[in-house]
């Protein structure tokens, strides 16, 4: 008599637990930018440690790919290091997909030279000319004599492509040294008076530039414009520093709880701290508040 009871209890238990799992097990897919993929992945891992029933799949493939899968409804969240193109906006409209544009971090690129280099400011056109190899001697733009040595990243770096496509707007000179990372560029510049390099601002945080024995150049948009420093939080927050880009995510609406919670986590103090640790800039207060507001609205959209 006991045995059948036990079996029944087991079945009931399994049935319930099964139901619970189906109800609570949540999954979202995030696709897009290769330059964001590592950052988002590390945040997703942290999030999933907290919420064992959540599963967040992160796939790279480039910003375009991420947005395309949003359009095709194969992903709920797209990472993008650029804004939507007109074509993409139209496609979303056609398919009647509403999206939320989220800025969750900032990336600014600083140009660095040796601490003894006479140059203090640089214009974007000079940056472009230097990196294209049109300026080969420092005497053309500064009091320093001697050839220019260009330090950069290898072609698998997102920054390499961003700078080339957005700032240099031409192929790099083939004497560009392809180093392994931001830290290596800083190390090289520290020892080379003739060098110029670019690094993510995140790598300059913590220690002061003089401690690192490098000089961070102020950047001007054009010859007579104002100069802005990537080290000035005000300039960055105001969006005045010309070589900065927001790290974007596009969220398809209505969004699932998990997607909303994950974005919330990205915007939380812990998430922003991880962004800093990954070498990017956390959001300024204003943008941060805007984003939180937008997120609340998105939750209501769902409700």
């Amino acid at each position: 008599m006991i045995r059948p009871y036990g079996t029944v209890i087991f079945i009931v238990f399994f049935a319930f637990s099964g139901c619970r799992q189906v109800a609570d097990f949540r999954f979202i897919k995030v696709m897009g930018s290769d330059s964001e993929v590592n950052l988002v992945l590390s945040m997703a891992e942290k999030y999933m440690q907290r919420d064992s029933l959540a599963s967040i799949g992160i796939i790279g493939g480039g910003s375009g790919m991420g947005i395309a899968s949003l359009i095709n409804q194969r992903a709920q969240l797209a990472n993008s290091s650029r804004e939507l193109t007109e074509k993409e906006t139209n496609l979303l409209k056609e398919k009647n997909i509403e999206i939320l544009r989220l800025v969750f971090a900032l990336d600014a690129i600083a140009f660095v030279v040796h601490k003894d280099h006479p140059l203090d400011t640089i214009t974007l056109s000079q940056v472009s000319a230097l990196y294209q190899g049109n300026i080969r001697d420092w005497s053309e733009i500064s009091r320093q004599q001697g050839p220019v040595r260009l330090y950069g990243r290898q072609s698998n770096s997102g920054t390499y492509l961003y700078l080339r496509d957005q700032i240099v707007k031409a192929e790099y000179d083939n004497s560009l040294l392809g180093l392994n990372g931001n830290a290596q560029i800083l190390e090289a510049i520290r020892q080379d008076v003739s060098g110029i390099g670019y690094v993510s601002v995140g790598y300059l945080e913590g220690k002061s530039a003089s401690e690192k024995q490098i000089k961070v150049l102020m950047v001007k948009n054009e010859e007579n414009g104002n100069c802005y420093s990537p080290l000035s939080q005000e300039d960055l927050k105001a969006g005045l520093y010309p070589v900065q880009r927001p790290l974007l995510q596009f969220l398809a609406l209505p969004a699932s709880d998990l997607a909303l919670d994950f974005v919330q986590f990205e915007l939380s103090a812990e998430g922003q701290d991880m962004i800093r640790k990954n070498g990017y800039l956390p959001l300024d207060t204003l943008t941060h508040q805007q984003m939180l507001k937008a997120l609340t609205k998105a939750r209501q959209h769902e409700g």
Binding site: S155, E171, N174, S175, G178, L179, A188, D192, V193
Partner: protein, 292 residues
């Protein structure tokens, strides 16, 4: 029963031997077939003689591997110019000249050198050798072919030293005895009798060291600067065949021209290694013949 076991064992051993050959052939075929796909779009001539390699270029891809080939050769030659004389001298010192104390001290140290991971050597190259080159050669940067050569020399040294030492030890004592008997000293015997007597062994050890240097990726990638320019000397930055594969394979979509181009580069590297091995065999055989 025993006979059957024997036959089974023979079969298993044969299968093992055969499988390693098959794996090798398989790898080579895979490289070759994938690499050959490149030549649908890029001519072999352009691939081998083009000075520019930049598959992801702003204004259209370029698949000229000549600068990569030359970079590889430059770095390897530099490494060998240092490693072969140094390695043979060290081997000779250890086996013929050094007192037992030094031999016992040096041998484990050299084995330790062989055990240093290539990334660590790369780090040493960046932090130590690069700045030293900058300081003493008056260069603006330490990221150049010479730095790579020095590190590859360090990597090839253990191979060259231990194999050369074996070759030197294998020289019959009677040769040395004859030399001493004629009034020769330690050094004269070493240089005029012992080393010439084991030339084939020394060549073989050098070639194995060369093979090690040619295929090494990580260290070279870290210290040579990887610029795409055509290098004109040891003070220029270079980008070797191996570095190119390592840098680009991560970002390439399979089935694209770029993907096939990387396989073509790999096939090139494979062929280069093959040529060196065959040459080594031929040279060693020639010297062996002269001695017997």
């Amino acid at each position: 029963m025993r006979d059957r076991v024997n036959r089974l064992m023979a079969l298993i051993i044969q299968a093992c031997a055969l499988s390693s050959v098959l794996v090798l052939m398989g790898i080579f075929l895979m490289l070759l077939i994938n690499g050959a796909m490149l030549f649908k779009e890029v001519s072999v001539f352009d691939f081998l003689t083009g000075m520019t390699w930049n598959p992801g270029a702003f204004d259209g891809p370029a698949y000229g591997a000549l600068s990569l080939i030359w970079s590889t050769i430059l770095v390897t030659i530099g490494a060998m110019l240092m490693a072969i004389p140094l390695g043979i001298a060290m081997a000779a010192f250890m086996s013929e000249v050094a007192p037992r104390f030094w031999r016992n001290l040096l041998k484990p140290l050299i084995e330790l050198l062989a055990g240093i991971p290539s990334v660590v050597l790369g780090f040493i190259g960046i932090e130590l050798i690069g700045p030293l080159l900058q300081k003493y050669l008056g260069l603006s940067t330490g990221f150049n072919a010479l730095n790579g050569s020095i590190l590859l020399c360090l990597m090839a040294l253990p191979t060259i030293i231990s194999l050369s030492e074996e070759a030197i030890r294998a020289v019959p004592f009677s040769f040395k005895e004859a030399s001493y008997g004629l009034g020769a000293g330690k050094w004269e015997t070493l240089i005029k009798v012992t080393l010439p007597a084991c030339t084939s062994g020394l060549i073989a050890s050098s070639m194995l060291g060369l093979g090690r240097a040619l295929g090494e990726t990580m260290t070279v990638l870290m210290v040579t600067g990887n610029a795409l320019q055509f290098p004109h000397g040891f003070y220029d930055s270079v980008r070797t065949l191996t570095s190119t594969i390592a840098i680009e394979l991560g970002e390439v979509a399979s089935g694209t021209t770029h993907y096939f181009a990387l396989f073509a580069v790999a096939s090139l590297l494979f062929c280069l290694c093959l040529i060196i091995n065959i040459a080594a065999e031929a040279i060693a055989a020639k010297f062996r013949y002269r001695q017997t």
